[in-house]
Amino acid sequence: MMNEQRREFIKKTALGVFVGLGAASGLVPAFSLEKTALPVWDEKPVPGKIRWGMLIDTRKCKEGCQQCVAACHHEHNVPAFKNRREEIRWIWKNSYKNVFPTADNAGASKEIQSRTFLSLCNHCADSPCTQICPTGATFKRWDGIVEIDYHRCIGCRFCMPACPYGSLSFNWQDPRTAIVDPVTAYPTREQGVVEKCNFCSDRLIKGLQPACVEVCPEQALVFGDLNDPASDIRVLLESNVTMQRKPELGTKPSVFYII
């Protein structure tokens, strides 16, 4: 399955590589940051063609395992503030009751209710966060990813209560003080802006899978194009019973769960 998925990636990326041969990459000296890798999509993307999505098979996800969380937070320089008030998170585990508060608990077994579930930004197709943002700093990209433009965010925090999933975190203070093991390949954020999961848009342009998907030892996470009927994720969605978070709100999340 993994291989199929890679093929899907390669299919999408092969064209870009030939086009992009002239672009700068590789030869950047060791000190430089955010190394210029050959972009996979180096042509202007077609809006609406791709819609990235994720499927989380919670049956495979091991209780107590934090590998995806650690990988994501490391890769994106997410600061590790200890106190709950200032906590910043892109992906985290939470109880059934908190992840699916509006699901019918009567239908869930004791076992399910005692498990924890991954939560992250759902990259909603109909996203209230982008709608409320006065500057368009939180915006929907051409590929369905809801991205935050950290150059533009004014820190008004209207997006935070607008998101029904608590996906956004605010930098109450300078995040650089709390980054444990900084990486040079990705920028940090600064004091006063909001941040959240970016579906690894930084890795996608290099033709990589999201960090959480790649690192999961159980392969519980599947990532792909929801608009492509032949993609793994679509095939799995069609052959499994899945659910989304708070579907009744009409936000159309792009993250699905197999319970």
Partner: protein, 361 residues
């Protein structure tokens, strides 16, 4: 005309210096916040809005409700119009300052204009507020200037006043539905919230205006007229009744009942409305002062406490109720902005009083 604000008696200067000192301490607190980040406030991940937002909501309501004086367009109110306009301008300025104080990156404020998102109610709200500030301040100043010269105000003042009406309506709707648009609130709660925002705004705004005219009368001997106050009291009463009813409804349908401060708000609201409804007590100045003070307090507490309990007006997305307690830094900033607005309003009122006295004399 502004030089008239620089002449005053002892108590005037004590009052201005007092406000000035508060502004200075607010500035130093704000400097700390700019430097260290909003971490110096009591806000956090789940309670991401706090005192600043509460003041913003309260002041936006007060500002926009002043349009009622223009709207009623009655003879008794002609003397009140300028005061109402200046109150609107000061309150609008304060509300904008509170919005800015709440931002993580106020240096990027103009991004709202550079990169407008027309779908965002936040954008419309701030746009209307700026427009309202400009129209009320200009119109008030022009009317005052005309009065000084003893001529009727120029014709464009009328158009400005007319323009301020749709702007105020826009402010009401944008603010009410800004909070109403948060997805975790049911349609029912949303509707009640929006209506109650408007009702409470008129109640508090008119009550505050009555208090201001009474203060001006007492300290400066400038009386805008008992009939004017009665008109305003009438509006405040209607709005107060509606607000109390809607607040009561919320006590039954949500867990407002768990917050002691909101009980205070409800009781103060009921008592003040009761006083205003009884003709005998409405006509007595002492009772009027008491009722108006209670009404303003009731609404202010409700706007603040609605946030303090965190779980209702702005529910934490994951259903947990997070307690939020403002820090002293936050309170100094709040006091500073209030003082700045009051300082401006005092100076403007001073000019009004001086001009009117000159005219009379």
């Amino acid at each position: 005309m502004i030089e008239k604000a620089l002449k005053g008696n002892r108590s005037y200067w004590i009052w201005t210096l007092f406000l000035g000192a508060l502004v200075a301490s607010g500035l130093s607190a704000y400097y700390q916040q700019r430097w260290l980040g909003l971490t110096v406030t009591g806000m956090g991940r789940e309670a991401s809005w706090g005192l600043y937002t509460a003041q913003f909501t309260f002041l936006v309501g007060v500002a926009a409700s002043a349009v009622m004086v223009t709207l009623l367009h009655q003879k008794e109110l002609t003397k009140t119009v300028i005061i109402a306009l200046f109150m609107a301008a000061s309150a609008t300025l304060m509300s904008i300052l509170f919005a800015v104080a709440d931002m993580g990156k106020p240096d990027r404020l103009l991004n709202i204009i550079f990169y407008t998102n027309p779908r965002s109610l936040v954008f419309w709200d701030l746009l209307f507020l700026s427009g309202y500030l400009a129209t009320t301040l200009t119109a008030g100043w022009a009317m005052l200037g005309a009065e000084k010269k003893g001529v009727p105000p120029p014709a464009w003042v009328k158009s400005l006043l007319n323009l301020s009406i749709p702007l105020a309506v826009g402010i009401f709707f944008a603010t009410a539905f800004l909070y109403g648009g948060l997805p975790d609130l049911s349609l029912w709660v949303t509707g009640v919230l929006a209506l109650r925002f408007i009702a409470s705004a008129f109640a508090a705004g008119m009550a505050l205006l009555i208090l201001v005219t009474l203060i001006v009368k007492k300290t400066k001997g400038l009386d805008t007229g008992k009939e004017a106050r009665e008109k305003l009291a009438m509006v405040a009463t209607y709005a107060g009744v509606a607000n109390v009813l809607l607040l009561g409804v919320q006590f039954f349908t949500t867990f407002y009942g768990n917050a002691p401060l909101l009980w205070f708000s409800l009781i103060a609201g009921v008592v003040s409305v009761a006083i205003l409804l009884i003709p005998a007590s409405r006509k007595s100045q002492q009772w009027l002062v008491a009722a108006c003070t209670a009404l303003v307090l009731s609404v202010w507490v409700d706007k603040s406490a609605g946030l303090l309990i965190g779980g209702e007006l702005f529910p934490a997305p994951l259903g947990s109720i997070v307690t939020y307690a403002p820090t002293s830094t936050e309170m100094f900033v709040v006091a500073g902005i209030w003082s700045f607005g009051s300082l401006l309003f005092t100076a403007l009122l001073k000019v009004v009083v001086a001009v009117k006295a000159e005219h009379r004399g």
